[in-house]
């Protein structure tokens, strides 16, 4: 098994001050897979958006809570899971944002889920007991 197939985890508090640390963790791993820089940036962005949503919506900006990021790869897939114990996201209640309408109404936000779906090949949300998981898969 090559080094890139190892599963690595990073646990951080739910604070935006750890965003760059999480992006670097993902970037360092994905670079070992030999992906082009644009794809590396897109995967980092998807994880950034998912983690930001957990901080803001699952944990309501309370920084003492923990978020676990797990990354692993096979020869065909990259798999990233992010775990939290906050309020769960309900994908069936999510509507894709109408950006023009939002600009007119001076609303912001709501774009993260849309970006994650655009950037990754599969996105699954689940809850086991008190633990939420967002699993994001990129085909390699």
């Amino acid at each position: 098994m090559t080094n890139s197939h190892k599963i690595l985890t990073l646990t951080v508090h739910s604070s935006t001050k750890h965003l760059s640390e999480v992006r670097d963790f993902i970037g360092d791993y994905v670079k070992t897979l030999g992906l082009p820089q644009r794809e590396i940036s897109e995967i980092q962005l998807a994880v950034d958006e998912a983690y930001t949503n957990i901080i803001k919506h699952a944990y309501k900006n309370i920084p003492s809570n923990l978020v676990k990021v797990e990354i692993g790869a096979s020869s065909t897939h990259l798999c990233i899971s992010i775990y939290d114990k906050g309020e769960s996201f309900k994908p069936n209640q999510y509507k894709a944002p109408d950006i023009l309408k939002r600009v007119k109404n001076k609303q912001r936000g709501g774009m993260g889920v849309f970006l994650i779906q655009k950037l990754m090949d599969q996105v699954q949300y689940s809850r086991k007991g008190t633990m939420n998981e967002i699993r994001m898969i990129k085909n390699l």
């Binding site: 760059s20 992006r23 940036s41 897109e42 950034d48 958006e49 901080i55 001076k106 912001r108 774009m111």
Partner: protein
């Protein structure tokens, strides 16, 4: 902020914000404060030069979304310039190029006012 900075310049009536580093949910408030200060002092012809911007997340785009209508209703605009391909890609994924004036170079943005 360690990984995000803003330098402010003025060319005639145009205010130029040179942003550098990483614009995410942590650093977005820094840009927001700068835009608020400009708008409060009636500087409404704004160019955000992204030449040294390495990264943007949706929280960064949200700052532009929040202020562009105010600035335009006052007769000004927020124009964006000098984006690298990765940053432009994020704007493009969200359909921003149809809503915002995104120009290749700061000089083009100045001429566009």
């Amino acid at each position: 902020m360690k990984n995000f900075n803003i330098a402010n310049r003025q060319i005639d009536h145009i205010s130029i914000l040179e942003i550098s580093g990483e614009l995410d949910a942590h650093t977005a408030s820094h840009l927001e404060n700068s835009l608020q200060e400009l708008i409060a002092s009636k500087h409404i012809h704004i160019i955000v030069n992204c030449k040294l911007l390495d990264y943007i997340a949706s929280a960064g785009l949200g700052v532009f979304m929040a202020y562009i209508e105010d600035v335009r209703s006052m007769g000004g605009d927020i124009k964006l310039s000098n984006m690298n391909d990765r940053v432009f890609n994020v704007f493009d994924l969200l359909g921003f190029p149809t809503l915002y004036d995104i120009l290749e170079d700061e000089r083009d943005a100045i001429k566009a006012f």
